[in-house]
């Protein structure tokens, strides 16, 4: 039996089933907290624990899925390219906004990690948590973080951003769709962008643009991590 569990087809199949259930539940409930990724992960963890299946067996198939993360990041170039006109027209506010956002995110996380006395591994895992998962995990791995913790923090941040985006808009009293969209994309990547798209076309496009740009800027800033970690 254990040999069958170690077949890559096992891991890939149960991941697709769990993901499909997650997407269905989200479509039915339309609640941000019922995030399909979160549901899929919870279901799979439950299956592994209940049936006492080692993570390593699951990962034989899981690793095949992981393989696509890199090429998926490459394809984000297509969405940035599609918004090129918008970027050309507003390049200065976009660049200033994303730079300030990335700096705020990194500095605030770093200061809080120190305040909580977290070790190097946890700090490296949490630092890139405001950017999109494929970029955040790559940065975390490069600097000695734990990829699983980074995925958890990125997902939690995205769901949070999606839930509180309308409150944030009121709290900071800015209605300009350009500012709102970039703000949401900078703080809560793709999951937040889903909410920005509901708010309006400009908000959604700007939020999507911020995902790619903040990811690139964070990677560049990450080169300086070694000085602080």
């Amino acid at each position: 039996m254990s040999a069958l569990l170690e077949s890559p087809f096992f891991g890939v199949t149960i991941t697709i089933v769990a993901y499909w259930i997650g997407v269905k539940i989200q479509q039915k409930t339309k609640l941000a907290i019922c995030n399909y990724m979160l549901i899929a992960v919870v279901l799979l963890v439950a299956v592994l624990v209940v049936f006492d299946i080692p993570y390593e067996s699951y990962y034989v198939g899981g690793n095949l899925i992981n393989l696509f993360l890199g090429p998926a990041t490459a394809c984000m170039a297509v969405s940035v390219y599609a918004k090129l006109e918008l970027l050309k027209k507003n390049w200065l506010p976009v660049l200033v906004g994303c730079t300030v956002g990335v700096a705020t995110s990194l500095i605030s996380i770093f200061v809080m990690c120190r305040l909580f006395g977290l070790d190097r591994e946890m700090t490296a895992s949490l630092l890139p948590k405001s950017v999109t998962t494929p970029i955040a995990t790559a940065i975390s791995q490069d600097h000695g973080g734990l990829v699983a913790i980074t995925v958890a923090a990125v997902t939690a941040t995205g769901i949070l951003g999606n839930l509180i985006a309308p409150m944030l808009v009121r709290l900071f009293r800015i209605k300009d769709p350009l500012a709102v969209g970039l703000g949401i994309g900078a703080c809560s990547h793709a999951v937040g962008t889903a909410k920005a798209m509901e708010m309006g076309e400009t908000e959604g496009a700007m939020s999507g643009l911020a995902i790619g740009l903040c990811g690139i800027l964070t990677t560049v800033a990450a080169l300086g991590f070694e000085l602080f970690l």
């Binding site: 899925i65 297509v78 390219y81 605030s108 909580f116 405001s130 923090a153 939690a156 709290l171 703080c187």
Partner: protein, 122 residues
């Protein structure tokens, strides 16, 4: 054959980026290099969006799916998260609020400054 070629283009760009990553003297993830390379190829017109449309729609449309196995890895670190639960939650909430506020205000102020400058030039 069309889809196969599209996979070839995207995987080829990614492999090329892994080669670049290997020779760079500092840590810079291949995934971000491949984003920049593909964007460059699109801007130069070497690759057209039509060359990779279906493949990129498939990858981006199901982006969440590809993170699931990495997320399940949390099973190995449940105790680490549990021990640091207060820090984890605080950091997620505070940095999200601050990042939104700082970005939105920075964009707002930049736009205001540009408007003022525009008025003066008139």
């Amino acid at each position: 054959m069309k889809i196969l070629l599209q996979i070839g283009v995207v995987f080829g760009v990614y492999w090329g980026s892994q080669c670049i990553e290997a020779v760079l003297p500092f840590p810079f993830p291949a995934s971000v290099i491949s984003l920049l390379v593909l964007l460059g190829l699109l801007l130069l017109g070497v690759v057209k969006v039509d060359h990779i449309r279906e493949k990129s729609d498939f990858l981006l449309g199901n982006l969440g799916f590809f993170f699931v196995p990495a997320g399940v890895g949390i099973i190995n670190y449940a105790n680490v998260i549990w021990e640091n639960a207060a820090a984890f939650v605080t950091i997620c909430v505070v940095s999200t609020v601050l990042t939104y506020g700082a970005t939105a205000w920075a964009v707002h102020l930049t736009c205001r400054l540009m408007e003022k400058k525009g008025e003066r030039e008139k």
